[in-house]
Subunit: 360 residues, 2 copies
């Protein structure tokens, strides 16, 4: 088999797969990238057993062939190639890669032992790719990377009549984002790490979803993906969203982020980086205290609500995470010193964060 | 003591000291930054016992004072401050830092226990700061960070009648750079890690050197530095510089760097990343071979010298390091398959690298 392919396109495709395919694995087969050459071009695929990914690269191909190559070496070779056009030639158990004055002879692996990857052909529902990516990115921080309870390492996607919602929580905080959906679909839980990879391949246009056995098929114009889903029940998150708001303040999210970062330097690392929020008379005073001294910062805010003043302690990192997806003005909604607080954008946009205050 | 100081200037000064002062040390005193306030401004100083550094920041100060603060915390606080002007107020064992709506109260340390730092007042010789920085940066890679023999962790500065030269070697390769000097000075060996810090504080203008007891005093317009020197004899490096050049090639340094990086992907990590250089008939062919396959790259070169062809093996990393400081066209001078090779810029510039080929 001989193929002529654009270096840029090949590099993009291989680069996406390189992220998924493990560099080292107790099963070396999993470190391989599979190439299927047909007259239309090259289909590159790989898996980490959580995600199967496949992407198509247009190429001039003289005959059908299929082979596997060490993914990370192949990616490095392609990335460093000079020129615009790459020639691939597969024969026996060797792949030649040629471009400019360079030639690489790469040993191919055992194709027959490579696990079969199959991607669903049907479409159950569609979402806007950019909206889904934005929603997943906005709530990702609230999912845990280590939590003992698996479900806290997941992001839930649910449908709510014309709207889709993604939700993540690690038990101490919660983030959700609503966005418009065409029609309805199945509720499901994606591993947060798989959501990270999904976000990376989503661009503009439509993303097509197909429901399979414990897996979600995802198709865009560029790639096909199978993502293993998580079992189990996502916690009843709605009950932690406070309904009875006693005090609310508005201020620029950027100013609050800066001030929290500033005073957090002196916060006590052994006391959850506690930063005190004291609201009264149109000001928000932030205060921290630790082994080396203490800090405070005073911000002017628009204040509303029945309570004239309130004092709450937060983990500085949680506040910064919650404010992360908010541009422009932010709204902080307090329901009491020890009750969950909400952070959201004044301009809306479907994003909401809930943070539980630290105990006194 | 109260002082008004520009945030930018304070941040720059504290930032330089933050690099030197250890974040953690078995002697916590060493993690402190010392502030001496006089009517002219603030002198900030610190040490890591290898380097003492001091820098002056203009400020409006109402009375003399001296105190020590935790360096890295103070640096973080200053960096995050809003506004353009900072107010410092020292009283008792507390330093208040105020800017915009923020106030920090930082506990000061035990001034009496802080080691006295003194910087020489005299000047023995001067060098161009930018030239010295460029020379040190060019040869730094050739000094070892771990070598058993201490002298290989140093960079030698020597004077050669109107010229200064810096030399570094780890026993396997050598780099040197000559540059113009005003007059003469003492030969000395700087620890390479201290040279890294020296490079960071050098800008334009003149650098004034003062020779002390086992130490070099360095003064620029912005900072004063004391650098501990290394004892011992630097190896007689001139004998490894080949005199009898049998074959030489010219080509663009960038093209060679790219080609070496490219083929090095398949080089054998367990065989010193060996890349074969084969020169003949106006071409340089690079070839590597490893567990996963083999690679080659062919470059057109200008070839000269008595030998019509030569084959040498190099550690790819050493070749890339040696080419690093060369812009434009490079000249490779070979004295035999097993004799040291030289790499230098065609345009000159005083830089020379010597790399010993790998054995067959």
């Amino acid at each position: 088999m001989r193929a002529q392919v654009s270096k840029k396109a090949l590099n993009e495709g291989v680069g996406m797969l390189e992220r998924i395919i493990p560099a080292r694995n107790s099963n070396p087969l999993l470190t391989a990238l599979k190439v299927d050459a047909t007259e239309r071009g090259l289909t590159l695929s790989g898996t980490n057993l959580e995600i199967d990914l496949s992407c198509f690269v247009a190429a001039e191909v003289n005959e059908q062939a299929a082979f596997v190559v060490p993914a990370h070496l192949f990616a490095q070779i392609v990335r460093n190639l000079g020129g615009e056009l790459v020639e691939l030639e597969h024969s026996g158990n060797e792949l030649a890669v040629r471009a400019g004055g360079s030639e690489f002879k790469l040993q191919t692996g055992d194709l027959s032992a490579y696990p079969p990857l199959s991607f669903p052909d049907h479409v159950d529902t569609t979402l806007d790719a950019a909206e889904l990516a934005k929603a997943l990115s906005s709530v990702r921080y609230a999912a845990s990377n280590e939590a003992f309870q698996a479900v806290f390492r997941g992001i839930k996607l649910e449908y709510r009549g014309g709207q889709a919602r993604v939700i993540a929580s690690d038990g101490f905080r919660l983030a959700l984002r609503d966005f418009a959906a065409h029609g309805d679909g199945q509720n499901l839980i994606l591993p947060a790490r798989s959501a990270d990879e999904l976000v990376r391949v989503l661009r503009d246009g439509e993303v097509r979803l197909a429901y399979g056995e414990g897996a979600l098929g995802v198709t865009t114009d560029r790639v096909r993906m199978n993502v293993k889903l998580m079992d189990g029940d996502f916690p009843d998150y709605e009950r932690v969203i406070p309904r009875d708001i006693k005090l609310q303040v508005r201020l620029q999210a950027a100013a609050l982020k800066e001030a929290v970062s500033r005073v957090a330097v002196l916060a006590d690392k052994n006391a959850n980086n506690r930063v005190e929020f004291l609201v009264s008379e149109g000001t928000l005073r932030l205060a921290t205290e630790g082994d080396y001294g203490r800090a405070q910062d005073t911000l002017t805010v628009e204040q509303a609500g029945d309570e004239p003043a309130m004092s709450l302690g937060f983990n500085a990192k949680y506040v910064l995470d919650a404010l992360g997806p908010i541009d422009g003005a932010a709204e902080l909604l307090f329901s009491g010193s020890t009750s969950p607080a909400m952070f959201r954008a004044v301009e809306g946009g479907g994003y909401l964060a809930v943070v539980v205050p630290l105990r006194v």
